[in-house]
Symmetry: C2
Subunit: 344 residues, 2 copies
Amino acid sequence: MLAQIAQKASRSAGAKIYLREVERVIGALMASSEFWGVITLSCLPVNTVAEIIKELIAEGLVVQKDHSLELTPKGKGEAQVREISPLADGACKACAGRGLDLSAFNKLLNTFREMVQGRPKAIFEYDQGYVTPETTVARVALLAAKGDIKGKDLLIIGDDDLVSVAAALSRLPRRVAVLEIDPRLIRFIQALADSHHLEIEIYRQDVRKRLPAELCRQFDTFLTDPPETIDALELFLTRGLAALKGPCCAGYFGLTFAESSLSKWLALQQILAAKLKVAVTDIIHNFNEYVNWDYLLESVRKDLSFVQVNPLSNWYRSSMYRVETVEGSYWENLDREDLALYPD
Amino acid sequence: MLAQIAQKASRSAGAKIYLREVERVIGALMASSEFWGVITLSCLPVNTVAEIIKELIAEGLVVQKDHSLELTPKGKGEAQVREISPLADGACKACAGRGLDLSAFNKLLNTFREMVQGRPKAIFEYDQGYVTPETTVARVALLAAKGDIKGKDLLIIGDDDLVSVAAALSRLPRRVAVLEIDPRLIRFIQALADSHHLEIEIYRQDVRKRLPAELCRQFDTFLTDPPETIDALELFLTRGLAALKGPCCAGYFGLTFAESSLSKWLALQQILAAKLKVAVTDIIHNFNEYVNWDYLLESVRKDLSFVQVNPLSNWYRSSMYRVETVEGSYWENLDREDLALYPD
């Protein structure tokens, strides 16, 4: 039965969906009655989960009651036969699964939380969706633990997460620069820098344009959270890498399961390894928690009523990647035209 | 000064050593006065650290006092000028940085700890070095959190860590099989399986030989902890992948910084992405903690007295990789000869 559901979902989705993915969605439905909760638990792309649930409903294994999704007796029976258990993430409660000790950053977090009230709303135009204040500060803590921030030159590429503010507030980096395209964020960061005496260099920059020459090869660490097409990921990462001084430098970025299938994860890893030639040193599951944004329902499919339901809590998570440059990494492969723009 | 130290260390090592790596070793020396502690903190290969410390001593920045290594006033001055801070891993104390909630596994851990007393010593012949009982049980917890063990078929390739025992004891997997070459471990696991009524299939197997046909395409999850030459890593991983049923299956293995430079990390990631075509979903820093083994000093260089010092505590750590198979992963690329041996 589940194999047939996988087949039907595959046809409808136009991409292969596997029996195990159907089982994962059922396991998630045993733990959450909400579509967006199922996304978080199952670690599968939004559309994959939508297609699977559509077929589970069609086959009578799941029923939609108002805004809830529930397994029917038939569905529960199938779960039992297949020995499917409720999914749970098993994360450490003290550190929310990040593995980091944030106690030294409590004061920073409290200050930061207050400062960012009234921050610009996340808007569709720039594919924005910012992380919780705890996450932003956890990023600073992560960079500190890895030796990538104290006394270092830090570049943030796209900053609706306001990492530049938290980093400058921590007084850890030697230099903080941010590239941002959204004038509201530029004004907001500038205002906070002024009111709190933070040294943040703000550059109005469209990432589709080359990095300004004066920023190339200047930084120890970059951090970004790109849109998740392969092209956008590659673009943001190449901009970040062009900014780094040389080997033994670091880059950080997020990647989701909700927007990127495992095949896309693999495609990106092929680019990281073979083209950009950077080593991935960490992939931390669910490190980044995002605050729900207003435009979600407008931007997702409208044909399934169980999708068109506002999430009850923060549902969007990404894994944090850390990459480190080695001899032979990206900038050594810049072509002559690039090099002319990027003098040593 | 540090740049020259990096250059001298490079010449002596026969491989490029970077200024930043020298800075990291100094940062580690500000937190640990023990060679093996510096290895753990700096996340650099043993030989790299040895060469750097040798030059730091030659230049008068570090002095060896009995078994301790200390920064001299000249060394401390250099650290100050370069704004080098003591390294610290910043790990969550509740979960030792693993990000996992182990409370449901406390009973298992206590039982397991008792059971493994009298376990065979780690010997050089098989490149052994086993992890702490907490680590073995944390692996079971990790697989549980990822949905890779409950009701699943699990294969352990090489088991001085006794994961097969902990897994079977947990009663989570549907099937546990272990491939092992060391007759002492085979007898030990068999004895525990008998005394504790655990269902563990034990196969005496040399990983250099092909996987027995009856084990191919049979498992949902494999776990291994290979020796860290590129060839050995690739070999163990291909054996593990050949055992998996298809897409949406998982493999776990450890990789260190102590034995593998970042360039080796990159080379392995190139193999994972381009050749084996599996997606890496997690790299968890310092997940695996290893119990010190007797033969350490015999197996490391003998020309530096600060290396020939027994470690005071467990120093050897590895990162835990989780890989997941997708459409197009390894076994789909097996050649005909292999396929003839591995019928569906």
